[in-house]
Subunit: 406 residues, 2 copies
């Protein structure tokens, strides 16, 4: 297949690109490299030293003989070039990672909120409109997030995208109805993925586009089989308070003797997936494309759930690190349950890599190896969800009044 | 109150501005005048001769002594100026009409789809982000559309925004849940109002913004008590295939001896409201503001429903016009039921102006008076929802093969 990976220079985009190229697909990366610009803006860098995308592609070709073409293109701002590209290359599949993906970054200031909405909605809608207008019938696989769901409030499991409900009609009869799960995003970033769902629903229904939406959990780990093959193919690894994700951050904190930072009570339950499983899921989704006219296919791309404080204790037990409870800069429930269905990927043959399987050590090893590249001052998570929360965190950075912070 | 009317130069925005100024409020219009530019783009004009917004405001002051301030500002493209404006003027209420509002225009070409999404989502999200950042605690009243609902499929009435459902939890117990009505927009335009709903839900929940969303039916009529007061205060009146709305179009077609154009079987049921009731509803919504922390308040702003073919027959009976059935350029069900609740506005004191009450004649009078300004070639609705539909319509403009068109 000819596959376009939009955002193929990113944390999951790059290993996905290598995974698909390794399987013999003709892979094209389309990326505006905004993630590298954001590193520059924030003054942080990947823990792992990351080469330019052009150099990464050159090394891959040298190693394997396979070519990965890189196209510098801004989906949200260069609509006509995007349409031209689709018309010229006519991909069989498009994997869409090309969105700003950090919740704390999306809540940093009003400018970051506006950027996240403009960029993410613009990229996704431009892509859909361009696919229709260029007559591109590629299977579109989009990276969504478990965060579109919010948390189930009545003890029901979170299904894969669609919820069975009963409503009472005018005759007083109860009728079954299947609906898109009522969305409750918890940040501007998550909200953009909720907006994407509505865009996909419309374009699948009106234009018969074939779309799969993958609601992914928090990705942990760094290496995949392909990124391990050469030092210069190494994946990016974010540790800062905006882009670093919770489990990877704990592992890094442990490696540099920094206390494990739990925000609030740590009672938040989150869904997780290892990066090797993430690229495997994309392969599985590609092999199971919907037909034109089908509703959007939605998978939950996660393999296990954990409470944040349990993860902290797990990492503390493994490494001897100290756990520190800090005020929560997010507006969210202190404690929540999260029961998630992921039957579809299991049925397609996913064999989950769980936290128990020793890969935690591997991440600690990576963190130790590159510990000299860490700026300790950038480890704290500081983006606050509201002005009130920002003030509380500022006045009590150590969380000594934590009991009163909901 | 100091009230900002965003899009106050438009079809409902202008009479709303006058209505609120007439009640003694300090009214500011914020508008980028894009609707006038679109007239220029399409080469059509309002049936009624419309003065510049500055001239309209001058006449109003001359007539009443009340001042309406006009601010030329593009919400989607001038974020910083918008924030400055909110900081400087600190309005008590904001009425948000500033979105591209024609479904056929939004489906015209890919460029029109992209414009509609960029403009509408950009305007709404910029407004929300700017309100939060400037600490503006105005009551935001937004004009949504009945089109976010789609049509009820199991014989249930469409509630006002929120639907009571039952779901089965992991213990097998049925639990009640109130959810935002599952959206099924029928065009890119309607889709943007579905996206707005998610934006409002998030900002009400995260930032405590006070928001009312009015899901309006198709507005008919042209005059209100204030626009009648001077020839130069006359409201705009669209008759073209993109911006003209169904009942007003029938009345104009009748006035110029053009057959009444019913698309498809005319079995589509739509919700309607007279423009005088529309401005009254906005007044009522303003007087019933939610508190910070409340969920978004949603009203259905409509007073009656009719099948399109019944309306055509009604106008034909009134005027002697001929009814013509043409292929439908929209992708929609040929026939649908639409039972809608509007209890909240009735409880607040709305006294509906219905079609039976003679105002139909008034619209025919307006149409006859300005019939010399009509370009008959622009009356047909030509924007097709998909390429396939465009081809069917092109090959069978007279609808002779209508029976085979679903």
């Amino acid at each position: 297949m000819r596959i376009a990976v939009l955002g193929g220079d990113g944390f999951v985009g790059w290993p996905t690109t290598l995974h698909l190229s390794n399987q013999g697909h003709e892979v094209h990366i389309i990326d505006n490299l905004s993630r590298r610009w954001i590193d520059t803006e924030l003054g942080v860098q990947s823990l792992t030293p990351m080469d330019s995308i052009q150099e990464r592609c050159r090394i891959w070709t040298q190693l394997t003989g396979e070519h990965i073409q890189f196209h510098l293109l801004d989906l949200a701002r260069e609509y006509e070039r995007l349409k031209q590209w689709l018309t010229e290359y006519r991909p069989d599949a498009i994997i869409h990672f090309a969105e700003q993906r950090a919740a704390p970054y999306s809540m940093k200031t009003d400018r970051h909120k506006v950027y996240t909405v403009d960029n993410n909605v613009g990229a996704t809608h431009n892509l859909l409109a361009a696919m229709v207008d260029s007559g591109c019938d590629a299977h579109l696989v989009h990276l969504g997030t478990m965060g579109v769901y919010g948390y189930s409030s009545v003890g029901a499991a979170i299904p894969e995208g669609y919820l069975d409900v009963e409503i009472t009609n005018l005759e007083g009869e109860k009728k079954g109805l299947e609906i898109l799960y009522p969305t409750k995003p918890g940040s501007v970033y998550h909200m953009t993925k909720s907006l994407d769902q509505i865009l996909f629903q419309f374009y699948a229904q009106n234009d018969g586009l074939r779309i799969t939406d993958l609601h992914q959990g928090i990705v942990w780990g760094t290496h995949t089989d392909q990124t391990r093959r050469h030092e210069q193919l190494i994946n990016r690894f974010d540790y800062d308070g905006d882009y670093g994700t919770v489990l990877n951050r704990f592992l890094i904190q442990a490696a540099i003797d920094y206390p494990l930072t739990v925000h609030g009570t740590g009672g938040q339950t989150r869904a997780f997936i290892h990066i090797q499983d993430s690229v495997r899921c994309i392969e599985l989704a590609l092999g199971d494309a919907p037909q034109s006219g089908d509703r959007v296919r939605i998978f939950n791309q996660m393999t296990e759930t954990h409470r944040v404080r349990d993860l902290a204790e797990l990492v503390a037990g493994l490494t001897g690190a100290e756990v520190k409870y800090l005020p929560n800069p997010r507006k969210e429930a202190a404690e929540n349950d999260l029961i998630v269905k992921n039957d579809q990927f299991l049925a397609l043959g996913l064999n989950p890599t769980t936290l128990a399987e020793g890969l935690l050590e591997e991440v600690v090893d990576v963190a130790r190896k590159y510990a000299h590249r860490i700026d300790r001052s950038r480890v704290a998570a500081v983006s606050a969800w509201t002005r009130d929360i920002a003030q509380r965190v500022e006045h009590d950075p150590e969380g000594t009044r934590l009991k009163s912070v909901s």
